[in-house]
C-alpha cells in the first residue's frame, strides 16, 4: 500500500524527524486560508500516488495567499498520469542550501533492510542509481541489531556531509529505520532531505510503501488508505482475493497462478495480440470469485475477447467449468471466450464447456492462437 506524501511525513514526524508543518486542503479557498495563517511563501503540492509530480506541474511555489489560491485552482482536479488530484499539501517554503537523499528498502539479495544515502538529493534517485551508482551509499542493517549510530556516521561521511551534520543526520537515519520497521514498510524515503540556509536538516518530501501482508497488524495505516486514489477495478478485485492489473490491450485474461498469468499474457503477445490485463484468480477459486473476475475483465471496454487458462492442480476442472458457466449466465458477455482447462478432472470440465458451445483448446499455444485470430477477425 502506497502512502501519500503528507501521510508519510506525519509518520516521520512521530519518530522525531523534522518536517515542514504543512496542512492538507481540498479546495482553493482552504489553501488561501492556510497560506494566510501559515505565512508565505508556501509550496502547494498535489497529493497523488505517482512519481514525478514536480515535472508534471503538480508542485508550485506561491508568494501570497492569493497566489496560493490561484495555483491550487490549477492543481486541484488536474490529471497527473491518469490520476485526478483531489488533495493538496500546503507546506511553508524552505530555504534550501543543499539537498540529499536518504532511504530504506528491503534488499532481496542481502535479505535485509538496506539504508541508502546520496549527496544527489531532490532528483530521481533511480536515475542517479543508473548513471552514477557510486554516488549511492548503501548500508545493510542486521535485523537483530538495527541501524547503529556508527553506520549512520559512516553514511554521512561517505556522502561528504560536513562534520557538523553527523549527529543530526544520524538521528534522522536511525529514526527513519525505526519508522520503517515499526510500520512494516517495504520502502521509506526522504527526498530531498534539505540542509537549510540556517543549518537545519528537514525532510521536505517523503514517501512510504507499506507491506500489504502486514496491514493486519497496522489498522491505523490501513485507515489511511485513499480509495479514491486507486483504480476502482483493482480495488474491487482485491475484495475478492483476485490480483488484477489493467493493461492497454484487447484480450482479457483469467488465469490461476501469478507466473502462469504472466506467461499467458506473454504468449498472447508472442502470437500478435495484446493482453488487456493481468488477472490471477488464486487457488481454489469459487464460482463467486470466477464471476467477479469475469465482471472485472469485462468492465474494460477495450476487451474484444477473453482467454481463460486454468491449470487445475488441486483445483478441479469440472468445478471451474461450472463456475465459468454460472458466471456467463450472470454476466452475459458480448465478446467471444476461448477456454483452456487442463489437469484434475479435465474430461468432465471440457465436456461441460463443449455442451455450452464454448470455444476450447487443449494447449496454451492453441488457446492463444485461437483468441488472437478471433480478435483479428473482428477487426477485419
Amino acid at each position: 500500500m502506497n502512502l501519500h506524501e503528507y501521510q508519510s511525513k506525519r509518520i516521520f514526524a512521530q519518530y522525531g524527524i523534522p518536517v515542514p508543518q504543512g496542512e492538507v486542503a481540498t479546495t482553493p479557498e482552504e489553501v488561501r486560508q492556510i497560506a494566510k495563517r501559515m505565512g508565505t511563501p508556501v509550496v502547494v503540492k498535489a497529493q497523488v500516488l505517482v512519481g514525478g509530480r514536480g515535472k508534471a506541474g503538480g508542485i508550485k511555489l506561491a508568494r501570497t495567499p492569493e497566489e496560493a489560491e490561484a495555483v491550487a485552482r490549477q492543481i486541484l482536479g488536474m490529471n497527473l498520469k491518469g490520476l485526478t488530484v483531489r488533495k493538496v499539501l500546503v507546506d511553508p517554503a524552505v530555504d534550501i542550501k543543499d539537498e540529499i537523499y536518504l532511504g530504506a528498502v528491503i534488499d532481496r539479495a542481502q535479505r535485509r533492510v538496506v539504508m541508502m544515502a546520496s549527496s544527489e538529493g531532490g532528483v530521481d534517485i533511480e536515475e542517479v542509481a543508473a548513471r552514477t551508482p557510486e554516488k549511492i551509499i548503501k548500508v545493510p542493517v542486521d535485523p537483530f541489531l538495527g541501524l547503529r549510530e556508527y553506520q549512520a556516521r559512516w553514511m554521512a561521511q561517505a556522502i561528504g556531509l560536513d562534520k557538523a551534520y553527523f549527529r543530526p543526520f544520524a538521528k534522522i537515519a536511525m529514526a527513519l529505520y525505526k519508522a520503517f520497521v515499526d510500520s512494516d514498510a517495504s520502502l521509506a524515503e526522504i527526498n530531498p532531505l534539505v540542509i537549510t540556509g540556517d543549518g537545519q536538516l528537514i525532510a521536505v518530501d517523503g514517501k512510504m510503501v507499506v507491506d500489504d501482508n502486514a496491514l493486519f497488524r497496522h489498522p491505523d495505516i490501513e485507515e489511511m488508505r485513499d480509495v479514491e486514489a486507486e483504480n476502482p477495478f483493482e480495488l474491487e478485485a482485491r475484495k475478492y482475493g483476485i490480483s488484477y492489473v489493467k493493461l492497454d490491450g484487447e484480450i482479457g485474461c483469467m488465469v490461476n497462478g501469478a507466473g502462469l498469468a504472466m506467461a499467458t499474457m506473454d504468449i498472447i503477445k508472442l502470437y500478435g495480440g495484446e493482453p488487456a490485463n493481468f488477472l490471477d484468480i488464486g487457488g481454489g477459486a469459487t464460482a463467486e470469485r470466477v464471476a467477479a473476475a469475469l465482471r472485472i475483465i469485462l468492465s474494460d471496454p477495450n476487451v474484444k475477447a477473453v482467454l481463460i487458462n486454468i491449470f487445475g492442480g488441486i483445483t478441479r476442472c469440472d468445478e471451474v467449468a461450472r463456475g465459468i458457466l454460472a458466471a456467463m449466465e450472470e454476466v452475459k458477455p458480448q465478446v467471444p471466450f476461448v477456454v483452456r482447462l487442463v489437469g484434475t478432472n479435465q474430461e468432465e470440465g471440457q465436456k461441460l464447456l463443449a455442451e455450452a458451445q464454448m470455444i476450447t483448446a487443449n494447449t496454451l499455444s492453441e488457446a492463444a492462437q485461437k483468441v488472437v485470430s478471433l480478435v483479428k477477425e473482428q477487426a477485419a
Partner: protein
C-alpha cells in the same frame, strides 16, 4: 538419487488439523509420502488419517524421528512455525504459506543462517521427487520419474512445464518450487548447485519471472561452473514497470528485474530460453539428445 526429498524423508505436517493441512496430508499419503506426524498446538493426542498429532514439533521429532517439516499454518503464525521447526531439529522446512510479512521473513532468514537449517519457500508449491515423495500441494499425477531437475519461482507455471515434459515421455528427478516472495529460504543458485551434484539429474529447467536479480546470479553460476545443460523460461515479458504482478516479488522497480535483462543474462550463459511454457519440453528434448 534426488535432491531435498525422497525415500529417506520422514515428514511432519505443521497445521495438520486445518482445512488445507488435512486435505494435503491425504494427498501426500495417497502419493506414498511417509507422513509420520502432525502438529497443532492444543490438539496433541488426535490422529488425522492415521497420522499421530502432537502439540509441539519438538515432541513430534522425538517420538517419530521426523526429519522434514511442511507448514500449512496461516500467515500470521507461519514465522513462529518455521522457527519452531528449525529449533526442533528437522533438517529441512518447506513453507507453503502465502502472505507472510516481509520483515518477519528478514528475521527468520537471518536466524536460519545462524542455526544452519534449510528453508524452502515461503509462498511455494513445495518439492516433489516423482515416485518417491511429494511434499507440497502440486498435483502428483502429472509427474513421472526421470532425468530432469526443475527449479521455479511459480506454482501453476511449473505444473505447465512438468505436464509438457511428461506428455513427451520425459520424467523429472526433483521439482523444486522456491516461491514468489522477496525473501525466500532457498534460491535458484542453491538448487542449481544441488542438481549439478545429483547423479540422477541430467538436465535442468529454470523457471523465473520478473523482479529481483536471482536469475542473473543463477546465470553467472551456470556460466562459470555448471556442466549440465540448462533450459530457461522467464514469465513477465509484457509486464509494465512499477506494477506488482500477483507475487510479492514480481515487480519491475527502478528499471531492474525486467524479463529482457534476465533472458539476455541466461542466453549469455549458454542457457536455451523457451518463448512459451510448452516450448520448454521441446528444448529439453533437444538438450537431452
Amino acid at each position: 538419487m534426488s535432491i531435498l526429498v525422497g525415500k529417506d524423508t520422514r515428514l511432519v505436517v505443521q497445521g495438520i488439523t486445518g482445512r488445507e493441512g488435512r486435505f494435503h496430508t491425504q494427498q501426500m499419503l495417497a502419493y506414498g509420502t511417509p507422513v509420520v506426524a502432525g502438529v497443532t498446538p492444543g490438539k496433541g493426542g488426535m490422529t488425522v488419517d492415521g497420522v499421530p498429532v502432537f502439540d509441539t514439533v519438538r515432541e513430534a521429532v522425538e517420538k517419530t524421528g521426523a526429519n522434514t517439516s511442511i507448514i500449512y499454518v496461516p500467515a500470521r503464525f507461519a514465522p513462529d512455525a518455521i522457527l519452531e521447526a528449525a529449533d526442533a531439529g528437522v533438517d529441512l522446512v518447506i513453507c507453503i504459506t502465502e502472505g507472510i510479512p516481509v520483515l518477519d521473513m528478514v528475521q527468520v532468514r537471518r536466524y536460519l543462517d545462524l542455526v544452519d537449517v534449510r528453508l524452502v519457500g515461503p509462498n511455494c508449491p513445495g518439492v516433489i521427487t516423482p515416485g518417491e515423495a511429494k511434499v507440497g500441494i502440486m498435483p502428483g499425477h502429472i509427474h513421472m520419474p526421470g532425468p530432469v531437475g526443475i527449479v521455479s519461482r511459480s506454482g501453476t507455471l511449473t505444473y505447465e512445464a512438468v505436464y509438457a515434459l511428461t506428455n513427451k515421455g520425459i520424467g523429472q528427478s526433483t521439482v523444486v518450487g522456491i516461491g514468489g516472495d522477496p525473501i525466500i529460504g532457498t534460491t535458484f543458485l542453491d538448487v542449481l548447485k544441488m542438481f549439478e551434484a545429483d547423479p540422477q539429474t541430467e538436465a535442468v529447467v529454470l523457471i523465473g519471472e520478473i523482479g529481483g536479480t536471482e536469475e542473473e546470479r543463477a546465470a553467472e553460476y551456470i556460466k562459470a561452473e555448471m556442466t549440465k545443460p540448462v533450459v530457461g523460461f522467464i514469465a513477465g515479458q509484457t509486464a509494465p514497470p512499477g506494477k506488482r504482478m500477483g507475487h510479492a516479488g514480481a515487480i519491475i522497480s527502478g528499471g531492474k528485474g525486467t524479463a529482457a535483462e534476465k533472458i539476455a543474462a541466461l542466453k549469455a550463459a549458454g542457457v536455451r530460453v523457451a518463448r512459451h511454457p510448452e516450448e520448454i519440453a521441446d528444448l529439453v528434448a533437444e538438450v537431452l539428445g
